[in-house]
């Protein structure tokens, strides 16, 4: 499960991308984990994440099993973080995505005080996370670095597509759909925010960063 680690993009394109996630270890400290995971997400929601998700039940942006055809003319952007919190019934991984490091720092201080006893991780620029931990009075325990992509790189698409599609590390957001969303924005058939919301619905873990996606789509529109 390295679904948050290998997000594509230069460091300066990742400064609005912080995924804070929590999980218990199977068979070691997973007793009572659902309540602790709910407590984690409630604290996270208090600090205004742009997305939250549950690895089994889905994120706060979800597809509809019974879409009203009128949605083709007016489709509300429904997202309910509290529904994600309520859906936690068993040990799993839950995540909250932030676009502002100050909010992450405030959350870390709350998490330290709450002392939930489950593992908390930040997936982001490593130095930013380390500095944020220090400001919150936390000494990091372990670190995993991404060394990027190797092998047959000719099969990779362009950077804008990759910046979008790798924000769902499980690969549920296809390169072709990211490319289609870029085209729809460039042709002014959808706004960047609308296109980002379509893509977010495919990320089952709720770790898709809509702020970053909206910015990437705006840049792609102008060919930047």
């Amino acid at each position: 499960m390295t679904n948050t680690l290998h997000r594509f993009g230069a460091p300066e394109t990742q400064r609005d991308d912080y995924i804070v996630f929590a999980m218990a270890s199977k068979g070691i400290n997973d007793a009572g984990a659902p309540q602790k995971l709910q407590a984690f997400l409630r604290l996270a929601v208090k600090h205004g994440p742009i997305n939250v998700g549950h690895a089994i039940k889905g994120g706060m942006y979800r597809p509809s099993a019974n879409l009203n055809p009128l949605a083709h003319w007016s489709r509300p952007e429904t997202a309910d973080p509290d529904a994600v919190v309520r859906s936690i019934e068993a040990p799993s991984t839950v995540a909250a995505v932030f676009d502002d490091v100050a909010k992450v720092e405030a959350l870390l201080k709350d998490l330290k005080a709450a002392d939930l006893g489950i593992s908390i991780n930040i997936s982001s620029l490593a130095e930013e996370a380390n500095a944020c931990c220090k400001r919150a009075g936390i000494t990091r325990h372990s670190i995993e670095y991404s060394l990027g992509f190797h092998g047959d790189l000719n099969q990779l698409p362009d950077r804008h597509v990759l910046e979008l599609s790798t924000m769902c590390g499980h690969g549920m957001l296809s390169h072709n759909f990211a490319r289609k969303m870029i085209d729809m924005v460039r042709e002014n058939r959808r706004t960047p925010r609308q296109a980002a919301t379509y893509m977010a619905r495919f990320c089952t873990c709720g770790i898709f960063n809509l702020t970053r996606a909206t910015r990437v789509l705006e840049q792609a529109r102008k060919g930047e």
Binding site: H6, P69, L111, S119, I122, A126, Y145, S146, M172, H175
Partner: protein, 270 residues
Amino acid sequence: MEVDPGKCVACANCIPICPMGAIYIDPAANRATVNLDECVECFTCYRGMSKEHMNPTLVRAVRRVAKWLRFRFEPEPDVCPTDALTPQELTWPRIIRRAFSDPLVPHESTGIHGRGTEEVKTNDVTNRVKEGEAGFTIEFGRPGVGVRFRDVEKMTMALAKLPVEFEEKNPVFELIADRATGALKADILDEKVMSAIVELKARIEQVPAVLARVEAVAHEVHTIVSIGVSTRCDGTGDDQLAPVLARAGYTFFRGKTNLGLGRVPKPVNP
């Protein structure tokens, strides 16, 4: 995954949705069709698209009229109007495709959802990777390319010759038929999956040698290889791994930071 030809209206919305590019409109039938050899059973099309349950005959009639008038119909791009995508019953060895491609299906071997283990994410509780050690996550197929186990086997066989310790809770480890050579089970070699992760552990001083072997094999496979390397930090939060990676010439800036807030519950006294 299959498409019900009785329901499909050839709207083509599902074509760009497929991460493997396995769906196309069959010109003879004018219906969406799945190339089952390329489909990895990730269920993205079935689960990710919203569904309308509209009458297929009505939708086809409207589409014919719009096409004749040269109208450009611009529907919501993430919708299957007639709920035409249909999961098929999966048997061995094809069932392994879904296990490695759909993150909502737990692996029987690990009991967790996803393609790997808890790895560094619960290292504050498990202490699996200790100071002076390095954990490796070598992932094949991502982003959006997919991999056949024949290519994964090239890596497991190459790494089995090094002084490394494979992670036994990893789903790929369950597929290794010969642990001395790293050979995988023969009947799964042609199966294609979204991604597969090989996890192993070595001493930090062996990191350059392991990475050199991984990079050499990466040039022989027909997919992408994503590499992650982890370690435990010391009491001040510093790590011995970063200088080793820098000396080996790697550029790295993104990481997964375990905050160390997890703990093992104290045993209850009888």
